[in-house]
């Protein structure tokens, strides 16, 4: 059994086991996943109540345009920067990204909350030039609600609820997550923009905060970007 698997996963994975089978010869024409799709894009996903996954792409053209606008040296001294924002209550964590990284795990608040991400370049002056803005996500509620369910619907009545009401649930989620929680005070205050990261750029899921993904909040160099 592979380490770290639950029993259910081990059992489920047995469906795919063909132990000891020789490696197959794959197609000769090998597709290589592109390093970039040539667009400015950032996307946010919820891994669990405590961690977000964010990945992005940068259009080399927009960097070239910036180079023309502010000068090559300024761009060379700039840092690709990730901002994780609580759109409802304010508060932000800032990650000065190491070179070559395309994704990051970001520690979320322990309470249910909405998040949005921004990707941009932080110029030596501290100015943030935004390249892309992400979708908004909501981390899941953990633990039982204090409020007891009172409204009762019949199966037939549930069927009558139109799909556009269901569509509005996502927006309601963002709204309620934004209103329920207080201002976000990202937990870690350390600034470690040059902290070593794994070759694949991943720094999440470590025993304690303190990696580059936890360069939150006030008091450090990243504070200059705080709203």
């Amino acid at each position: 059994m592979a380490p770290g698997l639950t029993e259910e996963e081990a059992i489920e994975s047995a469906k795919y086991q063909i132990a000891g089978a020789s490696r197959r010869v794959f197609e000769e024409e090998r597709f290589v996943f592109p390093d970039t799709y040539g667009i400015n894009r950032i996307r946010l996903l919820v891994k669990d109540p405590e961690w977000l996954f964010v990945h992005w792409d940068v259009d080399p053209e927009s960097v070239a345009e910036l180079r023309t606008a502010v000068g090559e040296r300024t761009v060379a001294l700039s840092k690709l920067t990730l901002r994780i924002i609580d759109p409802g209550n304010g508060g932000m964590s800032v990650v000065l990204l190491p070179p070559g990284v395309r994704s990051w795990y970001v520690r979320a608040d322990s309470t249910r909350r909405a998040y949005r991400a921004e990707l941009g370049l932080t110029l030596p002056s501290g100015e943030f030039r935004r390249l892309a803005e992400s979708n908004t996500v909501v981390t899941p509620r953990v633990g039982p609600s204090n409020e007891r369910a009172r409204r009762v619907l019949s199966y037939r009545e549930a069927q009558m609820i139109p799909s556009d009401v269901a569509s509005a649930v996502s927006a309601d989620e963002v709204r309620s997550a934004s209103s329920a929680a207080g201002p976000w005070h990202p937990a870690a205050e350390r600034v470690a923009p040059e902290a070593p990261v794994a070759a694949d750029g991943w720094s999440g899921e470590r025993p304690a905060p303190g990696g580059a993904s936890d360069t939150f909040g006030p008091g450090g160099a990243s504070d200059v970007h705080r709203r």
Partner: protein, 529 residues
């Protein structure tokens, strides 16, 4: 009248694995093994229950990839070959074991009998059409067949491109209509993965109910009064049944669950690895060792090394299966009696399992179900099996609450499908989905060739989205194959996107893609609009 209800749910799914480019392909065995060890043995059990007048109930996902494989001519013909080999090998094994070690002869006879019967059921009874078998049980009112995501895409991580989730649901619903002749009412969310708001896509497809992990109910807001033992309705209008952990653990857990009993068959010791290669040459066409489905040992003991396992005794194993069925029933009786007392209404205990757990992993699983349904029918009236629609007909009132994001993976969220071992796939899957949406908008009136390319692009995207690939990367089983499949589908999609946006489409290449990835022949790319 029953005090409470038991709702067993078997989630039957395998990724779409079909390789016409090779005469034999190792990973196609996933499907053949599941047919031989799980799906057909289950059909045999259900047929027996029906003919004996046992009033059983079972809810079962038949995922679109699985249905597609069950109805694919190439895979059916290959399965006939697979079965012929098994029957032949097990026949030879009776002779060999008599000659070399008679401790295993009884087991060899059991295999020969079972494989011969399975072949007869597949070939003669159902004429290679297992969908007929499932539909007969459905039409008898015993089996509730639910759908799934088109290719088992993991919805919570697809939400950045909503059209991709919608397509997974709509394509699955259309596929269900085509193969089952009805509208789907229930769905198994792939990996039990729920994200608030995604009910919209279910509603659009006419889906009325689904299932979520226990904390999806327990952590719902406001707090449901009856926990997982009564369904809730979300504000989006979908009824959700929650997974009961107690009954799940009794079967899933290798520590306290039934499948770990020492008299049950050992999964990991197979003749494909133990016997002489020369002897097995007719059954291992590439000369590469693999599981052949004949396993002669029992689990024997906790931590017993494979080399120290003792011979499997079928009679002992069946006795244990009956014993465990009795124990399971007794536990459910006590559970529903206790719950009914506190709830003031009949509880429902929902027990979802991977279908392949029964037979493939737990060899005696179908026998356990057989005994359990019979005991439940004949021996008592406290707990009765039920399907979700039946329960909702009898007890239509549901509390309204909003479940949080949840899955049935480790720790209850997305970690299994989103971790450093597989997170690299998501930028590419998302980009492909965005491009597919763009293609669907861009092509209002495609010519025939373009339409074929657009439909094939949709197939390639759907196949790339199977959660199985991320799962395999996490569980470290056949990682290279999972990576290959992700890469191959994205590669084919990327080619199609390029030629559809820049020109240069070559029909022979498109035809090859269509022949290889032939799932969803009826697909219409406009589902991505």
């Amino acid at each position: 009248m029953a005090v409470g209800y038991w709702c067993p749910v078997l989630h039957a799914h395998l990724p779409y694995v079909r390789h016409p480019e090779y005469p034999e392909f190792l990973e196609e065995d996933w499907f053949f093994e599941a047919l031989t060890e799980t799906y057909i043995p289950l059909i045999i059990v259900l047929d027996g229950l029906l003919s004996d007048g046992v009033d059983y109930r079972l809810t079962m996902t038949l995922s679109p990839p699985l249905v597609s494989m069950m109805t694919d001519d190439l895979l059916i013909s290959r399965y006939h070959r697979y079965l012929d080999r098994l029957v032949d090998l097990s026949g030879r094994e009776i002779e060999r074991t008599q000659r070399e070690d008679s401790r295993f002869t009884d087991a060899a006879r059991v295999y020969h009998h079972d494989f011969s019967r399975i072949r007869h059921v597949f070939r003669e009874t159902y004429r290679s059409n297992l969908m007929q078998a499932f539909c007969e049980h459905r039409d008898a009112g015993k089996l509730e067949i639910i759908t799934c995501g088109a290719t088992h895409g993991f919805f919570p991580l697809m939400d950045t491109v909503p059209q991709a989730v919608r397509a997974q649901v709509r394509v699955a619903a259309a596929h269900y209509r085509r193969h089952l002749g009805r509208e789907p009412v229930g769905i198994w969310l792939p990996e039990c993965g729920y994200l608030p708001g995604q009910e919209a896509y279910l509603k659009e497809a006419g889906i009325r109910y689904s299932f979520i992990e226990s904390h999806g109910i327990e952590d719902a807001h406001p707090r449901p009064s009856f926990g997982v033992h009564a369904p809730i309705v979300s504000p989006g209008g979908i009824v959700f049944f929650g997974r009961d952990m107690e009954s799940s653990r009794q079967v899933w857990s290798t520590e306290v669950g039934y499948p770990g009993d020492y008299d049950y068959r050992e999964f990991y010791k197979d003749v494909g690895w133990d016997l002489d290669l020369g002897y097995l040459k007719d059954y291992l066409p590439d000369g590469v060792r693999k599981n052949l489905g004949l396993k002669y040992y029992r689990i024997t003991g906790r931590g017993t090394a494979l080399g120290d396992k003792e011979p499997y005794v079928r009679a002992w194993a069946l006795e244990k299966a009956a014993l465990h069925a009795g124990n399971f029933l007794q536990n459910r009786q006590q559970q529903v009696q206790h719950l009914a007392g506190t709830m003031g209404r009949p509880p429902i205990v929902v027990s979802p399992y991977d279908a392949e757990l029964f037979g493939h992993w737990w060899f005696e699983g179908p026998d356990f179900l057989n005994y359990l349904f019979r005991k439940m029918h004949h021996d008592q009236d406290v707990v009765k099996p039920i399907t979700p629609p039946e329960f909702l007909d009898r007890h239509p009132e549901c509390e309204m609450a909003q479940p949080p994001m949840c899955t049935w993976g480790a720790k209850g969220y997305a970690e299994v499908w989103l971790n450093p071992g597989n997170d690299w796939i998501y930028p590419h899957l998302e980009m492909a989905a965005e491009r597919m949406v763009d293609l669907a908008r861009r092509y209002e009136h495609p010519n025939d060739l373009e339409r074929r390319a657009l439909n094939q692009a949709a197939r390639e995207l759907l196949l790339a989205q199977s959660s199985d690939w991320a799962f395999i990367m996490k569980t470290n089983t056949t990682v290279e194959y999972a990576k290959k499949r992700t890469r191959d589908h994205i590669a084919r999609f990327t080619y199609l996107h390029r030629v559809l946006t820049q020109g240069g489409l070559e029909e022979p290449i498109l035809r090859e893609f269509e022949e290889r990835d032939n799932i969803f022949s009826e697909i219409d790319y406009r589902v991505y609009r």
